[in-house]
Structure formats: C-alpha cells, structure tokens
C-alpha cells in the first residue's frame, strides 16, 4: 500500500525540508526588506495656475505646462485679476517633477500611476463651503515621450467629472484653510509614456456648476506610482517561482498518472491550486516593458482573485476530505461541497463585478470612479458587503469543518490503544503530520494577518539597528508572496503520492488483529492507492 509522501517521509527528512523552506521564506522576506525600495512612491505636485487666453476652450491640442519650451504664463490667484474669468484658469500639473537639476521621466518599470486631488480652500464668511458640495472638473491628460519636442504633448484622455468635495473647518476665521478630503482623480493601469501632463479646469457651464466650492487657493495632485526597484524585485521573485511551481506541478501530475487509479479530488484540487498559483506567478510584467497594457491593474486583481478563490476552496475540500464519515463507496467530487463553495463563489463574483465596474470602466476612462455617484457608491458597497459576508460565512464553515476533523481524530485516538503498537505509532505519526500541516496553514494565515496589522500600525520603516534599516512594507509583500508560494510548493511535494512500498505496513500486516485485516480486505482494489490517512479515517469510521 502506498500513501502520500508526507506519510512516508522520515522525521529527519521532513525536518531538513522544512528548514530549507523556512530559509527560502526568510530569504524572500529579507530580499524585500533589504533590497527592494518602498512599494510605491508618491509625489506631491502643486498646480501651476495658467492663463488660457484662447477663445475656444475645448481645443485639445493646446496644452498648459510650467516647464520647457512654450510654457504658460503663470497667474497668482491671490491677486485680483479683472481681465480673467474662471474659464481662463487652468491648473497645470506636469509629472514627474524635476529633481537634482534633472528632468526625470517615468520608466515602464514603474507600472502604474494613480492620481489624487487635494484642494486648498480658504474660508470666507460670505462664501462658506457646504459639506458634500459637488465640484465639476474638466480634466485632460496628455503624454509626451523623450524623443518628442518639448511642446509636443498629445492627448491621452479627457473627461468632465463630478466629485464630492467633503470639507470641514475648525476655526471659522477668514483665510484659514478647510480640511478637505482626498479626491481620487485617475488611475492609469500602464505607465507607458515618459512624461504626463494634467490640465484641470473648473467649468461653469450652468450657474450652479462649481458655485459652492469656495475660494480655491491651491490645487495639489499627488501621483502615486509603483517603484521601479520594487517591480524589479517582484518580477524577479516571480521569474524564480514560476518555473519552480511549473516544474513541481509537472512532477506532481506525472506521479499521479503513474498510478493505476484515477486522481482523487484532493489531488485535482492541489493541481488546480498549482495552476492558479502559476497564473499568479506568470511574470506578465515583462510585457508591459514593450507594450501598452492598461488592463494590467485589472488583470492583477483577477489573478489574485483566482488564486485566493482556489486556495479557499482547497482548504474547504482539504478539511472535508479528511473526515469522510459514511458513504465511503462514492468517489468524492466537488458537487458534495457546493454549499461550502458557494460562499467562496459569491464572494469572488461580487468582488469581480465590483472590480469590473471600477477598474474595468477605468480602462475606457481613467478618471472614472464608481464612488462618485450615490447609486454607484451604494452598488459598490453592496458588492463589497456581500463579499465580506460571504468571507465571514466561509470562515465559519471552515472553522466548523476543522473543528469536526479534530473531534474525529481525537475520537479515533481513543481507539488507538486497542491497536497493536507498530500500527498505533504509525497512525499517531499520520495524525501528527496532518496536524502539522493544519498548523502550517494556520501559521501562514496568522503570519499574513499579523504582518498586515503590524504594517498598518507601524508605518514605513523599521529600525532594528543603527545601520540596518528594514523596508518593512516591501518585506511584508515579498515575505507573504514567498510564503504562499512555499506553502503550495510544499503541499504539492508532501501530498504527492508516494511510490515507496510501505515496509512497516507489510511487516506488520500479519501481526494485525483480524478485524482490521477484514476492514482492509473488504475493498482491496479501490483502497490500495488512496492516501493512507484518508483510508485510516475511513476505516476507523467503519469501526
């Protein structure tokens, strides 16, 4: 009789393997902490107020910027301008801003660009800003590449957007600033070009438009882009993990095919988990260096979503498969788990719909946000709450299942003393290893959660030593990423069917008492290659 590798692995080999994997894990963490920079970089850009003297305001070939040839004529909003109307005012944001006397440009390694708008509004007793007033923004985004002339800006996208301006003020005295909430402005899924330029106008096409937003002093746009170094480290990790997982997956599948029986559900689940991980690991980021792929943000979400969905389903099936009670005859299939899995499915589908509504639409219009309108906010909240509820339900289910498994095991443990010593030792080993893997899962999950919470509490960098500064956020990301890769890697290895003959079993078969012998011989062909752990539990339930 053969079992899975974990059952046949000696304690020493297991220890060696675990140590090796832990070392890999530590390496991942340290690579993130010591090599990689922060995951993302934010640049605050103060808008230059430009004067648009043209008559036609919707000419998208005319751009305003404050650096380089053809720069605009800046206006100081603090002074009175009788010759200006609000239509003539353009806020220009040229990104990235120069540093160290250099004109920096975006690199394609920097992946994506997220823009957030902040408006400085000064208080006036005669013009109070109502809470939750609407600001209408005419935003135009242009791009330019290094080889283009300095005034060769080309339209990237353009949109007139409404946003909610949520402002309050503590000291109601003139010229104090309102505290206004951040306004999400745009999300670009690809950072393909070298320079970007944002022109913002505040149109007043109707008398009510932009009438209750007070006196704007300044406009700030904070642009967030992924750091090139982080992308490089991340993609390198992916490049390493991808072939490893592919390799182990092929090995796993070949091993299963060498068996005479068909693969059982757990093995199919493991396989799909491996495939989902491969999908997540595939270093598609290399393509963005060559092609303009604005859907990468969305694709990244989908890849993560698919992975989490498979992982969650796997845990359910894993727990479920280890406590089959009654109908031992039927090959278990996914259908049996439809009730449990529907929680996962509902959660994932609602998140997917939400993501399509937000990032999917952003493919067409980067300035779009679902959170702007009340209907959109309600819709988004519905989907998110739905996802949250199904996650909660899922975890309740999972905890219940795991609880039942442990109850089962402890029940069977009570019958262990009645067995012969060799067999008992062996079963105890199996239970120990099963618990070990359960613990590993819990540990991984707990580490992820704890790491996340620590990251939220202590932002930025951690100092262990005067000279060693750990970039904690990056370390967390690479650490968690590595951890789940290693986790699945070890699952694939340890749960692959073993080809080793089971000497203990054969030696002891004649020593076993009759009743157990009968149990084994009842369905000899079917049981022979199932993992001995499941067979043990099944058998025990029949006892």
């Amino acid at each position: 009789m053969t079992g899975t590798i974990i059952e046949n692995l000696s304690g020493r080999k297991l220890a060696v393997l675990v140590t090796f994997l832990l070392l890999c894990q530590l390496t991942c963490f340290l690579i993130g902490g010591l090599v990689a920079p922060m995951p993302a970089n934010a640049q605050n850009i103060l808008g230059t107020v430009c004067k648009d003297t043209s008559v036609m305001k919707n000419d998208t070939t005319k751009w305003f910027y404050n650096r380089g040839k053809g720069k605009c004529q800046p206006v100081d909003l603090g002074e009175v301008h009788h010759d200006l109307s609000e239509k003539d005012i353009v806020f220009a944001f040229q990104m990235p801003i120069p540093r160290e006397g250099e004109t920096y440009d975006y690199s394609r390694w920097q992946q994506n660009l997220i823009g957030v708008l902040q408006v400085d509004i000064s208080y006036h007793s005669q013009m109070e800003v109502k809470p939750r007033s609407t600001i209408t923004i005419d935003a135009r985004l242009a791009y330019r590449n290094k080889e283009d002339p300095e005034d060769g800006w080309k339209l990237y996208t353009q949109s007139v957007e409404k946003r909610v301006l949520d402002c309050d003020i503590d000291i109601k005295t003139d010229e104090y600033l309102y505290n206004c909430s951040l306004i999400p402005l745009f999300e670009l899924g690809s950072l393909f070009h070298d320079y970007y330029l944002l022109n913002i106008r505040l149109p007043i096409d109707t008398p009510d438009m932009n009438a209750h937003i007070g006196h704007i002093q300044d406009m700030w746009v904070t642009v967030i882009n992924q750091n090139g170094g982080f992308t490089k480290v991340w993609v390198s990790l992916k490049t390493v993990f991808f072939p490893c997982i592919i390799g182990i997956l092929i090995w796993f599948w070949r091993r299963i095919h060498m068996l005479e029986r068909k693969p059982v559900l757990l093995e199919k689940m493991l396989l799909s988990l491996g495939i989902a991980l491969c999908f997540l690991n595939a270093p598609l980021e290399y393509l963005t260096l060559q092609f303009d792929l604005p859907f990468m943000l969305l694709l990244g979400d989908i890849r993560q979503g698919v992975f989490y969905a498979t992982l969650f389903s796997f845990w359910l099936v894993f727990a479920g498969e280890h406590m089959l009670i009654q109908d031992t005859s039927a090959q278990s299939s996914l259908k049996q788990y439809w009730r449990h899995l529907s929680a996962v499915a509902i959660g994932c589908i609602s998140l997917f719909i939400f993501d399509m509504c937000e990032r999917g639409v952003q493919l067409r219009n980067p300035f779009y946000s679902i959170w702007v309108t009340d209907l959109g906010t309600n819709l988004a909240l519905t989907f998110i709450i739905l996802a949250g509820i199904s996650t909660g339900v899922y975890f309740l289910f999972l905890c219940y299942l795991v609880y039942k498994v442990f109850i089962n095991i402890s029940h069977k443990r009570q019958s262990l003393p009645t067995m012969c010593s060799v067999r008992r030792l062996h079963y105890e080993g199996i239970i120990y290893r099963f618990k070990f893997l359960m613990l590993a899962t819990l540990l991984c999950a707990a580490l992820t959660v704890i790491g996340f919470i620590l990251g939220q509490v202590a932002e930025g960098q951690w100092k262990w030593d005067e000279h060693i500064e750990l970039e904690y956020t990056s370390a967390f990301f690479t650490g968690v990423y590595g951890m789940w890769n290693i986790y699945i890697f070890s699952l694939l290895v340890l749960y692959a069917p073993s080809h080793k003959r089971w000497p203990v079993n054969e030696n002891t078969s004649d020593m076993q008492n009759l009743s157990e012998e009968i149990e084994f011989s009842r369905l000899p062909g079917e049981r022979s290659e199932i993992s001995s752990l499941t067979s043990f539990i099944r058998k025990a339930t029949v006892d």
Partner: protein
C-alpha cells in the same frame, strides 16, 4: 483673500516695487535690496513682489557669497525666498494685529530696517521674527519644489544609502535612483536650504547668534511638524492591502498660529555659565576657533530661571525683556500705540486699557461704506453690494 486685503496687498507690494526699482540706485535703496536678498537676516528684510527680485543684478551683488552660490546652484530659488519672506511678514502682521507691537514694517518705507531696530534687541518679538522668517523660507521653497519651479530640489535618499551624508551622485545615477526607489521629498530640501541660506551669517559663537539659530530652527521645525499625513489605499480592488502615505505641506497660517503659541510661552535663556555645561566635544576641542558646521545646531541653552525647564527645539527663546511698545522710541524704531484702533469691551491685549497703556482713547462714530453680501465665483469674479454701516471706532490717544 478678501478684496480689501487684496487691495492692501497690492498696494503694499507696489510700494515695495517703487522702493526697489525707484530708489534702486541710491544708497538708501541699495541698503534695502541688500536686506531683501539677505532674507536670512530679518532685520533687513523686505516684502517684495516675486519676480522683481532676481532680475535685478544689484540684488545679486548684495548677497553673501554663500547665498550667491546657493542662488546660482538653484535657479528659481530666489523668487521662492522672496515669496517666503513676504509670506512671513504678512503672517507676522496677522498674528500681531491686536498687540501693542504689531509687526509694523512702516519704518521700512522711511529707509530703516524692515521691522525696525527692534531686531537688534534679543527680545521675544525678535525671536518670533526670526522664526517666522525661516519658516516662511522653508515653506516657500518646499512649495516651489512641489510646483517644479526649483529643479534642483533633492530626493529623500533613505532607501539608497543609510548614511546621513551622502555625496552627490552623478546625474545618471540620480535618474537610476529615481527609477529604482522614487523621489518624493519636498520639505527636506526646504528645510536644508533654509538652514544653508537663512543661517548663513549665524556662526553660533555668541549668545545672540545661538538665539537666532535656535529660533530659526524652531521656525523650520514648526513647518515640519505641522505637516499632515495623507494616505491612499491602492491594493487589490482598491483595498488597503497597499497603502501609500505622504506628508502634506501645512498652510502657512497654521505654522503662524503654532509659532504665536510658542511666542506666548517663549523662554528666556542665558549662556551655559560653567564649562561643565558645555557639550563634551567642545571642551575636548583644543582650539575651538570654529564650531564645525554640522554641530552648529547642537547646543543647549539654559533657562534664565533655573526652575524652568530647558527650551525644546520648537520653543522660542529670547535673551532680554521686551522694551515698552507704548511710546514712540526712535532709537529702537518703535512707533508707539498712539492712534492704534482698540476694542473697548475686551480685557485682553487688544482691549483699549492695555493697548493704549492707560492713556485713554477716543471714540468716534463713523459711517463706513463697505462691500457686503458678496458672491464669489471660485476664481476671479466678485460681485458685491455696497453697504453703509455705522461703526464705532476707538483709537488710542
């Protein structure tokens, strides 16, 4: 800004413009420009409309050599410095609107120092002037960095090299650094630049220089600590698994408010009187001719009253009690409170009792035509009615 304030501002800056350009050739005017450009020393600072300053070659000549080098290395920085100085003056005047000393710059027009000779005394008011000026420069330079008006602003290199003093990397390396780890430092450059530019003259040898250094540093610290953190979540589906935070430059008004609080609680200090109070490294120095630059800010001032606690980095310090601001004092350039408006119902410093120093006040009822019921559109359009209101004005005798 409110319309009347704007008008005030315009006339003020126009006046400065006249002073600058009109008297530019005369010796008196030259002295002013010298003051403006040396924005580090508030005693000779002037508000100036930005843009005028750096075009004038005479200005350049009046800078200290180091400041000239800084201006040359950082194009666009002088405009920011001028703007910052201007902001500081306006803020000072706002904060001291209702006090006996009202941060008056009237003397400036008559050819004296900007704030009058008050800055020659090491009193509270001087402490505030120094702090608000260095804060103004820090703020304005940081702002200009964010706008991209100064191209030589530096990056935060903490992710590249953990050593505090990193030599300037060649340009290609800088670009690589930006692409690797980003660059998002506005306040850091403003802070360091203000140290270099404003503190040029203060070597920190005498007690007065120490006071100036301390107050300059306090002003900058307030800009830094008044910054507010903002965060944006951009993880999977916009969740907070990935969160990026940045610091937002405070409004200069909040910096002014904070500094005014410190002004009210400023501590009077004196030199550490015994050698044992001196920091160790200075004692070990055999010939302390020149305090090393890096250590210029590492000194500890002792409170005048030993029961008080030693002033912190954000506290303002002064050396001597303020002169009386009640009466005109030409020697110190104090205009006195004659003719100042006061509030007869208040018992505070703006109340007539205190403001007029017990001399009594005159009450007049006058009709004022004011703009009222104004409607604004966000940028430029102001529609107001004119209202005739009766106002009771109290003026100090």
């Amino acid at each position: 800004m409110l319309p009347n304030k704007r008008v005030y501002f315009e006339t003020a800056s126009r006046a400065m413009y006249v002073v600058l350009v009109g008297f530019g050739a005369s010796r008196r005017g030259y002295a002013h420009i010298r003051g403006i450009a040396k924005a580090g020393e508030p005693n000779s600072l002037s508000p100036v409309s930005p843009g005028v300053l750096y075009m004038d070659p005479a200005v350049h000549a009046t800078l200290r050599r180091k400041q000239r080098r800084l201006a040359r290395e950082n194009p666009g920085v002088l405009a920011a410095v001028a703007k910052g100085a201007n902001m500081a003056v306006l803020e000072c005047q706002h904060q001291f609107k209702y006090r006996r000393w009202n941060c008056s710059t009237r003397n400036f027009l008559r050819g004296k120092n900007l704030f009058g000779k008050i800055v020659d005394r090491g009193c509270r008011e001087t402490a505030f002037i120094y702090a608000i000026t260095s804060a103004g420069v820090t703020h304005a330079v940081s702002r200009a960095c964010a706008e991209g008006a100064i191209e030589s602003c530096t990056c935060d290199y903490s992710h590249v090299d953990r050593a505090p003093h990193r030599s300037r990397a060649p340009n290609a390396a800088n670009v690589r650094v930006w692409k690797w780890g980003g660059c998002s430092d506005n306040i850091g450059f403003g802070f360091r630049f203000s140290r270099e530019f404003v503190d040029t003259g203060e070597r920190g040898k005498t007690l007065r220089e120490k006071m100036n250094l301390h107050n300059n540093e306090a002003g900058r610290m307030h800009v830094q600590t008044e910054m507010r953190q903002e965060c944006k979540c951009h993880g999977m589906s916009g969740s907070c698994t990935v969160k990026t935070c940045w610091m937002r430059l405070p409004s200069f008004r909040s910096v002014g408010d904070a500094l005014k609080d410190r002004f009210d609680g400023a501590s009077r200090v004196m030199m550490p009187n015994s050698e044992s109070d001196m920091p160790l490294r200075q004692r070990n120095d055999a010939a302390p001719h020149r305090v090393p630059r890096r250590d210029r800010y590492r000194f500890q001032l002792r409170p005048h009253n030993p029961d008080h606690k030693t002033p912190g980095t954000k506290d303002l310090v002064y050396l001597e009690p303020s002169p009386g601001f009640c009466e005109k004092n030409t020697r110190l350039g104090i205009p006195g409170t004659h003719g100042r408006a006061c509030n007869d119902t208040s018992i505070g410093v703006e109340g007539c009792d205190l403001m007029c120093c017990g001399r009594g006040y005159r009450t007049e009822t006058m009709f004022v035509v004011e703009r009222c019921n104004c409607t604004f559109h966000w940028c430029c359009e102001v529609k107001c009615k004119f209202c005739r209101t009766e106002k009771v004005v109290h003026t100090c005798l």
